[in-house]
């Protein structure tokens, strides 16, 4: 220790000057250091966690949320980030956001182009699984959902609009998207890439629309789950003829009131990029 000064009294003739050690209360000093350190820790942790607000405030990652999701800010507040919705989805449409979503970390979203919701669970499993009502329990049927709203984003690419048909498999051999085709298997989701199509005029978006599928089932007298309440009251999408005066038979997908924004049309659209996309509900509201 530095304060143990060598004793020099036995040196002959040495003048013993009493050295007064500088008054440093080491304990006090340590306490002060600890206090400052603690202050920095507090500032650091609160600062880092508050940074989560940036991606939210600047909407870095606008997300299509699962069926029944509350308004964005309420969703982020109410969601307990447990992923039970992820676990129950039969087509694995729901993912959890990462840290780049800030406060939205662990909150579920749907990347429709990769894997859309297809409502084949009828009962809105994700909503039933949600422990906090972040996916609102007030909804009972797919037709009541409004995740977003589909829009023909690139009419120039749309095959139907060009008057073209579609032959072959949708979106190439690498695409992992799933869809439950009632006519193949009610319960087992199929790989979309395994389906073969031969259409005179492309109507993939309409024939994959869960609302249109339901309406067709109801009209055939076989409502989903045998429940007529499952029957959507309004159509969501239909092909309408377009005449451009060149004699080519063209059709244009028209999105209707009944669209729930599940994104199935976006997922199955064979053009690249997708001709039809889903606008996220909140964006629709703002415009």
């Amino acid at each position: 220790m530095s304060d143990d000064k060598p004793d020099n009294t036995d040196m002959p003739g040495a003048v013993v000057a009493k050295q007064v050690p500088p008054v440093v209360n080491r304990r006090k000093q340590q306490q002060r250091r600890q206090f400052l350190r603690t202050l920095m820790l507090a500032a650091g942790v609160v600062g880092v966690s508050s940074m989560g607000f940036i991606p939210v405030a600047r909407s870095w990652n606008p997300r299509l949320r699962p069926p029944g999701a509350l308004d964005e800010s309420e969703l982020l507040a109410a969601c307990i980030k447990c992923g039970q919705c992820v676990q129950v989805c039969p087509v694995e449409a729901i993912k959890l956001a990462d840290i780049m979503d800030g406060f939205g970390v662990g909150v579920p979203y749907v990347d429709a182009r990769e894997q859309s919701c297809d409502f084949s669970c009828d009962g809105l499993q994700c909503i039933l699984a949600c422990p906090t009502g972040a996916l609102s329990h007030k909804l009972n049927y797919p037709s009541e959902v409004r995740m977003g709203f589909a829009r023909l984003d690139r009419p120039d690419l749309c095959l139907a609009k060009k008057g073209e048909g579609f032959k072959g498999k949708i979106r190439g051999p690498e695409f992992d998207g799933l869809f439950r085709y009632n006519e193949i298997d009610r319960w087992k989701p199929q790989r979309i890439r395994d389906q073969e199509f031969d259409l005179e005029i492309c109507d993939l978006c309409v024939r994959h629309c869960p609302i249109e599928i339901r309406i067709a089932q109801c009209e055939a007298g076989e409502p989903p789950s045998g429940d007529i309440n499952q029957c959507p009251p309004r159509h969501a999408i239909e092909l309408r003829p377009v005449d451009e005066g060149d004699g080519v038979r063209r059709m244009r997908p028209e999105v209707l009131d009944g669209c729930v924004g599940c994104g199935a049309c976006e997922m199955v659209c064979p053009t690249s990029p997708a001709s039809i996309v889903v606008d996220i509900e909140s964006t629709v509201k703002r415009v």
Binding site: S50, F53, L76, A77, C79, I80, Q84, Q87, T132
Partner: protein, 321 residues
């Protein structure tokens, strides 16, 4: 009552205080008196106890912790619906369970009380009340596990004098608790969840690796090179919540002063050494003293004690485990 207040004040961050003379029972006074008269050669005692190496409770705890976290994964992967969700919120064979702190943050931010969440919260409250509160930390929390491994590295580095441990004031955890609660109310977002390594790790185990693990890695590096067990000791409001739950819990660690040689091995391995203050020579106010609520019931001290002076106790049953 004074045990409770002391236990609670320690949770909030107050340093343990020296008991006053009138707080000691006559029996323990006698024991302390005799021990004062004994000649103690700490080195000799340590040498004598060198052979004592038990990892009984640590092994059981790690096995439990890994099993619980894997059960989430297995349940999802094989779709067996045994334990669905993540540590923040889950269903155990259909029964709702909600992490108390996550549920609190959600209720404060969302400003509604959802019935399912309330059911889950009550279930978890009862469960951890019975099991000892912070038992959650050491027996379930995945961050506790990785932090324990990081701590080993930290201690090695300290031993080789390559680094020095920096302590913070424990009261800062209370500050964090209040700040995060206020932030949730004011901003309407569950701010703490953004940085909670418990949530991040639990989700990563179940749903796959994320970038958020980078934050967890940073925390571990901070604990290895700067401050031992910093997150669990000074920050985590989850630990604080469960600490309060455990205040009156029947399951706790108790200390018996009679055979204790006071060589302090238990305090060296403890995540929260302030709770082990009574094991210091002359500090125990009774022959057996219950350890405070900040104790995570991890059992490392029980493993470390060569004289079996520390053990688990279920109050009321008075049965030795």
């Amino acid at each position: 009552m004074s045990y409770l207040t002391e236990s609670f004040m320690q949770l909030l961050g107050r340093a343990p205080r020296k008991p006053k003379a009138e707080e000691y029972t006559p029996e323990v006074k006698q024991i302390h008196f005799y021990k004062r008269g004994e000649k103690v050669d700490l080195e000799a005692i340590r040498a004598e106890h060198m052979g004592h190496k038990s990892h009984k409770w640590r092994n059981r705890r790690w096995a439990t912790l890994i099993s619980v976290n894997l059960l989430f994964l297995v349940s999802y992967y094989f779709d067996v619906q045994l334990l669905e969700g993540a540590l923040t919120g889950s269903r155990f064979i259909g029964f709702h369970m909600a992490d108390l702190n996550s549920a609190l943050q959600v209720m404060l931010a969302y400003k509604h009380v959802v019935l399912n969440l309330l059911i889950g919260t009550v279930t978890i409250f009862v469960l951890w009340f019975l099991l000892g509160g912070r038992t959650f930390c050491s027996w379930v929390c995945p961050y506790h596990f990785v932090a324990e491994l990081a701590e080993k590295i930290h201690l090695k580095l300290v031993e080789r004098k390559l680094i020095r441990n920096h302590e913070f004031h424990r009261g800062v955890r209370t500050v964090f608790y209040v700040v995060f609660a206020v932030l949730a109310v004011v901003t309407g977002y569950t701010v703490f969840e953004t940085v909670s390594p418990t949530g991040i790790l639990s989700r990563a185990v179940i749903y796959g690796a994320t970038l958020a693990l980078g934050w967890v890695a940073f925390l571990l590096l901070f604990e290895i090179f700067f401050s031992q067990r910093a997150w669990c000791r000074y920050v985590c409001p989850i630990g604080m919540t469960y600490g309060v739950v455990g205040l009156l819990s029947p399951l706790r660690v108790v200390y018996n002063v009679e055979a204790c040689k006071h060589e302090g091995e238990c305090r060296k391995v403890c995540e929260v050494p302030h709770v082990l203050e009574p094991v210091i020579k002359g500090r125990a106010t009774d022959v057996t003293v219950p350890i405070g609520a900040d104790c995570t019931r991890c059992g490392l001290c029980i493993d470390a004690c060569p004289t079996s002076s520390l053990r688990y106790e279920i109050r009321g049953l008075n049965k030795v485990l």
